[in-house]
């Protein structure tokens, strides 16, 4: 651009363009145009020539007129414009190169030239010669002709260019170079070089004037420079002085700034300074730690984008707008809590103090930020812990208060407030005598002070009566200390409401008393038959009392049965209390059952008491029921009825009713005995209790009977109903339903028709106690059972190895080897257990014991005591079993 504005460019630019244009026109465009025109002319000429040649050859062949051929063809070889001419004739449909000019032009060369626009051809037709004449124009000829035609133009152009170059040098020397000298002089003046005078060598008038003007300017500037030098010297001195002062000020400012920076950097809180557009201008190290942004990253960023959470950004923007409008800001100069945004996007709690600082005309906002996440968390934890403790203390079902050294309440739990019917605000900070106006206050405060003074004070029981209702409390006091370094002591007072415990204690004491009475009764009831058994047994050995032996034996048997029934009652009640009493239902012939009732009650009936049995609707019915337990219920009721009836009657009424698949039986046992007062009606159904202790003494019994009856009826989904009038009589009623069993032809009993013989049974009885061995011998003797007795498990095993038995009765509890160990060994003897039933004979009469023994491999279980009838039944069953096996 600089060059284009120069004089040389401005003057010689058009000349240069003209020269170049001329060069392009004369050197390229015109020759090309000429060459093209020549090519067209030549192509047309060649077409005419080849056409003429073809026609003449046709004429020669047709009319034998060869006159023109020599002339035309001779002319071809002389034409410089032809590259070649070729004669092609057809023979047998194929074109053959016959002749060419110049010679030796190949067919390949002809084919290669076909694309050239100077390639022309004409057909030979109408004569004997069939073919074509081909001519290719000469490119060299065209080029030489073009050059020839353009030669004058080239010469003219060369002359013009030469003239232009000469003009250029003339102008350069005469105008351009002097002008450059003037410019150089002006440049020197501009650069301050005024030492050289203006000495431009030129004859051009205008340039000479310019040289003189420049020289005048140089002289003027030289004078001005000298003046300026003097002024500059003075100014330099002044500037040096001011610079020195400024440097000092700057150093002080830098020191101040360093101090300020150090304070900011070392601050424990984050410091963020922002301008009026909320752009961060200062960001200390603590801010880097808290927010996660480095100083370089934070500077220049908007507060809202970097550290203000989304939910607070609108408020911030409104606050800033408000401040700009009014100069007021509620957040300014106030310490408050809010939330901030970390680099990772999480928000956290901060404590923020914002103040404004005016720097020049601009106000900046300085924020002091403290991360209070941990402190807040700790505060929340403490609050939660306090609430937990408070809830714990308030939730405890006891009265709790705390008092300070001045015996003023500092804490009262909800239970205490509720019990004392006070509001917390009425108690906290006050002494007991300021809250309560009661007689126990003075004593209570004395006890409080005693505990404060280090005197031990055991818990006391206190009875509070409110609204006529008395409550018993257990009050305790002791000192507690809170804190490690400077502990604070409090007096903790607690109070338990022990009214319920007191009631339970009373009940327990009553129960204990009843138990004691029961134990005394049981002791009496056991001792009474034992006394009869022991005394009468000794009397049996006195020979002078032989005539009374039957009566003694009968009495011993009756006492033993009574004793056994009592023991069974105790065991049953024990099982019922432990919820272990269970029914064992089986097929029960109701008629047989009712018949059996008559027979069993016979021994207990007083001669003055008649027994009436009213059985209805029970004939021919079989039900699924626990006959033993049902019998036990009726025996107890009948036993009681006979026991408490001295004269009159005892009536048993049974009414059976079929209901679909069940059989309902209504039982009523009534007597005309002493009856039960209304007061004692509830008691009689409780265990251990009879109407009054005098009854037990008068009538005997443990008092367990009706309790067991009630439990058994509960198991049968029934309930005992008591109707009684004192001195008139009592009726017990209950109703039970049993599933009906289809009647089957019952086997005719044979056991009672004729005394069985057990001589065929060979039995081994394993028992370590001699009396029991003798009992077994005595029972078996009438039946001639082949009895073998072994005194231990080991001896039994030896016996079983030596001989075979039809049945083995194995006592469980024996020294050395007990029954369980023994059967395990017996099971190892080949085929022994397959051929010999081994029955457990034990006093362990619980149902789970039965199951355990059967699981161990016992064939059955016999319970002690075993009566002769029961042994007889067992042997009969075994005899039947043996017979069926043998059959």
């Amino acid at each position: 651009m600089k060059f284009l504005n120069s004089i040389i460019a401005r003057i010689w630019g058009p000349f240069g363009l003209m020269a170049v244009s001329l060069l392009l026109l004369v050197g390229i465009y015109i020759p090309n145009q000429q060459k093209g025109t020549l090519r067209e002319f030549q192509s047309a000429e060649l077409k005419e020539l080849v056409k003429s040649m073809a026609i003449n050859i046709s004429v020669a062949g047709k009319y034998d007129d060869w006159t023109r051929l020599t002339e035309i063809f001779a002319d071809i070889s002389e034409r410089p414009s032809l590259e070649f001419a070729v004669l092609l004739l057809e023979f047998n449909g194929k074109e053959t190169l016959v002749a060419s000019n110049p010679p030796n032009v190949s067919m390949e060369a002809v084919n290669n030239a076909r694309s050239n626009d100077l390639f022309v051809e004409a057909p030979i037709e109408g004569g004997i010669f069939q073919g074509k004449v081909v001519i290719l124009g000469s490119e060299a000829f065209l080029s030489s002709e073009t050059a020839r035609l353009n030669f004058p133009l080239v010469v003219a152009m060369a002359l013009v260019i030469t003239a232009v170059i000469l003009l250029y040098f003339f102008f350069l020397r005469g105008v351009a170079l002097p002008l450059q000298a003037v410019r150089g002089a002006a440049e020197r003046i501009r650069e301050g070089d005024l030492s050289k005078p203006m000495d431009i060598d030129t004859n051009i008038r205008e340039l000479k004037s310019m040289n003189m003007a420049l020289d005048g300017l140089r002289n003027g500037l030289l004078e001005q420079r000298n003046t300026n030098l003097a002024l500059t010297k003075g100014m330099e001195n002044e500037i040096q002085r001011q610079t020195k002062d400024l440097r000092k000020t700057l150093d002080e400012l830098q020191d101040s700034r360093n101090l300020f920076g150090n304070i900011i950097e070392s601050a424990l809180d984050a410091m963020v300074i922002a301008d009026g557009q909320s752009r961060i201008v200062e960001w200390n190290r603590k801010a880097e730690q808290i927010f996660g942004w480095s100083r370089e990253e934070a500077l220049g960023q908007k507060l809202t984008k970097l550290i203000i959470p989304q939910i607070h950004r609108d408020n911030h923007d409104k606050g800033m707008s408000n401040y700009h409008a009014t100069g007021q800001g509620p957040a300014l100069n106030n310490l408050f809590e809010t939330q901030a945004l970390r680099r990772d996007g999480t928000t956290f709690d901060i404590e923020l103090y914002i103040t404004t600082v005016k720097i020049g005309k601009e106000e900046v906002f300085s924020s002091f930020i403290r991360d209070i996440t941990a402190a807040k968390q700790m505060s929340q934890d403490l609050e939660r812990q306090r609430e937990l403790n408070s809830a714990l203390l308030n939730g405890l079902p006891m009265l709790i208060t705390l008092k300070d050294e001045d015996l003023r309440y500092t804490f009262v739990n909800d239970s205490a407030l509720k019990e004392l019917k006070q509001d917390r605000s009425d108690m906290i900070g006050k002494r007991e005598n300021e809250v309560f106006d009661t007689d126990w206050v003075e004593d209570s405060m004395k006890r409080d002070r005693a505990v404060w003074n280090g005197e031990t004070d055991s818990a006391e029981e206190k009875t509070l009566t409110r609204g006529g209702v008395s409550s018993h409390f257990l009050i305790g006091r002791y000192l507690i200390s809170v804190g490690k370094e400077n502990p604070t002591s409090y007096l903790l007072t607690y109070g338990f409401d022990i009214s319920t415990l007191k009631a339970v204690q009373k009940e327990l004491e009553s129960a204990l008393s009843t138990k004691n009475e029961f134990l005394a009764t049981v002791s009496h009831e056991i001792r009474t038959p034992l006394h009869s058994i022991i005394v009468l047994s000794e009397l049996l050995n006195q020979h002078d009392r032989i005539d009374e032996r039957d009566e003694f034996s009968q009495n011993i048997r009756s006492s033993s049965r009574h004793l056994l029934n009592m023991v069974n009652d105790i065991l049953d009640f024990s099982k019922a209390s432990a919820q272990r009493l269970e029914l064992a239902p089986a097929d029960m012939d109701v008629t047989e059952f009712t018949d059996g009732l008559i027979r069993v009650d016979k021994d207990q009936r007083s001669s003055e008491v008649s027994f009436i049995k009213d059985i209805q609707g029970c004939e021919g019915v079989t039900v699924h029921a626990d006959q033993t337990r049902l019998n036990q219920v009726l025996q107890n009721l009948l036993s009681n009825a006979f026991k408490f009836t001295e004269k009159g009657e005892v009536k048993l009424q049974i009414i059976g009713v079929r209901k679909n698949d069940t059989f309902s039986m209504k039982f009523a046992v009534s007597d005309t005995g002493i009856g039960i007062s209304n007061e004692n009606k509830k008691k009689v159904l409780n265990a251990f209790e009879q109407g009054n202790s005098g009854i037990a003494r008068k009538f005997g019994g443990t008092g367990l009977g009706l309790g067991i009856v009630s439990k058994l009826l509960q198991l049968m989904d029934s309930e005992l109903v008591l109707e009684s009038q004192l001195n008139e009589g009592t009726t017990f009623r209950f109703e039970v339903s049993f599933p009906l069993i289809k009647q089957q032809a019952s086997a005719s009993p044979t056991a009672h028709t004729a005394p069985p013989t057990f001589q065929s049974i060979k039995m081994l009885y394993v028992e370590d106690m001699h009396p029991n061995q003798m009992v077994m011998k005595a029972m078996c003797k009438p039946w001639n059972v082949d009895l073998t007795i072994a005194s231990s498990g080991q001896e039994a095993i030896e016996r079983c190895k030596q001989e075979s038995f039809d049945v083995v009765l194995l006592d469980i509890q024996m020294p050395e080897m007990d029954g369980i160990e023994a059967i395990k060994v017996l099971q190892t003897i080949d085929n022994f257990m397959d051929n010999t039933p081994v029955h457990a004979f034990t006093a362990h009469a619980e149902s789970e014991d039965y199951e355990r023994f059967l699981n161990l491999g016992f064939s059955g279980v016999l319970t002690k005591p075993l009566t002769p009838d029961q042994l007889r039944e067992f042997l009969l069953t075994h005899l039947k079993h043996e017979h069926s096996d043998r059959h």
């Binding site: 051929l69 071809i76 001419a85 016959v98 010679p103 010669f129």
Partner: protein, 135 residues
């Protein structure tokens, strides 16, 4: 039968190996011309006589019997091949085109009127002044 085959062969070859006619010419200067030299002349391979007269070959029309005989004698080929031969050498500028006339009388008349002209007669007697000496 054998004789017939020989005769047929000779008759077939007669066109190819025809006898040279009697040469006639005007102002030829080579002296006696052998048959070979005559062949070269009628094949266009000679273009000027020693006396600088141009060689002009005069032939009867291309469809005449005389032309076929000249072709058979000089080129040992047919009339068309002989025409093509002449066309080729004329095209290349190596020879002047021959003159074709309708009869031997016209041939004689032409030769008589043009120096350096030469022809072959098969039917007419050769005038003494146009006789071409042969060895």
């Amino acid at each position: 039968m054998r004789c017939f085959i020989i005769l047929l062969a000779l008759g077939w070859n007669g066109a190819l190996f025809a006898q040279m006619g009697t040469p006639v010419g005007n102002d030829l200067d080579p002296g006696p011309l052998t048959e070979t030299e005559l062949k070269e002349i009628f094949l266009g391979n000679k273009s000027i006589w020693d006396n600088n007269n141009p060689v002009t070959v005069v032939l009867t029309s291309s469809d005449s019997e005389g032309f076929a005989k000249v072709a058979g004698w000089a080129l040992e080929a047919g009339a068309f091949e002989f025409q093509k031969h002449w066309l080729s050498i004329v095209f290349q500028g190596r020879a002047n085109a021959p003159v074709f006339l309708n009869s031997e009388e016209e041939v004689l008349a032409y030769i008589r009127g043009h120096k350096g002209a030469i022809g072959l007669l098969y039917t007419l007697p050769v005038p003494p002044e146009l006789t071409v000496e042969t060895p």
